[in-house]
Amino acid sequence: MDTREPVIIIRDLCKAFGSNVVLDHFDLNLYRGENLVVLGKSGSGKSVLIKCIIGLLRPDSGRIEVFGQNVPDLRYEELDQIRAKVGFLFQSNALYDSMTVRENLEFPLRRHWMHTGQKQVDELVQMVLESVGLPHTVDMMPAELSGGMRKRIALARTLILKPAIILYDEPTTGLDPITGMEIIELIREVQQQYRTSSLVITHDLKLVKLAGERIIMLIDGKCYAQGTYDEMKTSTDPKVRAFFE
């Protein structure tokens, strides 16, 4: 029996869009301090899964417990309190085009921690920008940044609330291999520096290998297999092997 403390527990999660069943009695545990990777092909429902966890999508049935609270049952205010502890790195970065980097970083801070003074806000902005290696971009607009820089700023915006869990939605998609490697390194550094639990959704095997302590394979809407990278790679199951060939 696993004695580690789970921060996310998912049981029997089902989600369908019309007749298209995306998640079919899906189960998952994310433990404190763990880097868990959910691997699946495009369109397999990985993004739907983490959007259900953060409350952006409502599941059809099943339980999603985050810090012991069932997300689908929460009221808006309660969900906000959970969201303050759970960071979300969007696949498209989702930086606000009309705001500078500073304003992008200040936005969640001002919303969740309304009584934070300007001096403390400035310090936090500077600190997270240094964490992602981009302190000089503070007054730039997102359109002036490269793809990798935008990803770093998006991660900085996630980190500014010091979340206990970070959900990464395809963090290396659309990046060149070198920048992708830098982002993978950054994810590992962030986990060590901030001691977060991470749930990474991806189909990038390099990311799986380097960042994943445990891997769950999402196939046909179910948790089809789980284990370490090496266990998965040496699996004899044809559906699992198909990812590594």
């Binding site: 808006y76 303050a84 759970v86 969007f90 696949q91 989702a94 606000y96 085009d97 919303r111 969740h112």
Partner: protein
């Protein structure tokens, strides 16, 4: 596409828009109030539309006067031009033309802005950042459009009438003071108040339709373009429908 499918799609759209509007009225009175974003939107929607509205209003007043003059001269009533132009502008042409220009500029920009925010997950990001995106984006923009259009119409009416005065002076000589005296003497509350009231409804229609189209924009850049375009078309149709209703209601209320 069969007639049945077209009718069903139309009814679905009307139903969705009605639900979206009902949600606006639920959210508008509920805290937290986004005052600073509302003020910013008033600046963007109102102040930044002023130049376009002012220019078109000036040309409208000038052209209307020049087009009207030959007929008025033929019947020997050219002295009535200020009265006729002022009634036409204040009661109908000013509100409707300004609202249509407003729909073109603001409806499309709201539709495109919210559409691109939807497609690039910025609306989702706002939600996980502890912000109700409906309140922050939809309520503020719709309220700003509702309040700013009447202000723009009052200004555009005044600018149109200055354009008209210049139009009169191209052929005749009429002092500005006399022109305005004739305008004021011939305008009644019956002309101005219903026209001003209907502007709030026009502004609301432009704001809510632009937000609805953008907020539910489908994925992809094509969807953003379609949202902007259909926001203008739908808002323009609503403006004419509301205008038709307004004239009927005004007749009923004022005469009975």
């Amino acid at each position: 596409m069969s007639d049945y499918s077209i009718n069903k799609a139309l009814l679905d759209e009307i139903g969705d828009l009605a639900r979206f509007t009902a949600r606006f009225f639920r959210e508008v009175f509920r805290p937290r109030y986004e005052f600073s974003e509302f003020a910013h939107q008033c600046f963007v929607i109102g102040y930044k539309s002023l130049a376009l509205v002012g220019l078109t209003a000036f040309i409208l007043g000038l052209v209307l006067t020049m087009q009207l003059r030959p007929s008025m001269v033929r019947y020997g009533v050219e002295a009535q031009i200020p009265a006729m132009v002022s009634i036409a502008i204040v009661r109908e042409i000013g509100p409707v033309i300004t609202a249509l220009i407003f729909a073109g500029k603001i409806g499309s920009s709201i539709g495109a802005e919210l559409g691109s925010m939807r497609v690039t997950e910025q609306i989702d990001a706002m939600e996980v950042s502890g912000t109700n995106p409906f309140k922050y984006l939809v309520v503020t923009r719709t309220l700003a459009a509702t309040l700013m259009l009447p202000v723009l119409v009052v200004l555009s009416d005044a600018i149109s009438l200055y354009g008209s005065w210049i139009g009169v002076n191209i052929y005749d000589v009429l002092s500005l003071k006399l022109f305005w005296t004739q305008v004021i003497e011939n305008l009644a509350y019956y002309d101005a108040i219903p026209a001003l009231i209907k502007c709030f409804f026009f502004g609301f229609a432009v704001g809510i339709v632009g937000c609805y189209k953008g907020y539910y924009s489908k994925k992809g850049t094509e969807g953003v373009g379609r949202s902007a375009n259909s926001a203008v078309v739908m808002a323009s149709v609503f403006i004419f429908i509301l205008d038709l209703l307004a004239v009927q209601i005004t007749e009923l209320v004022w005469y009975y």
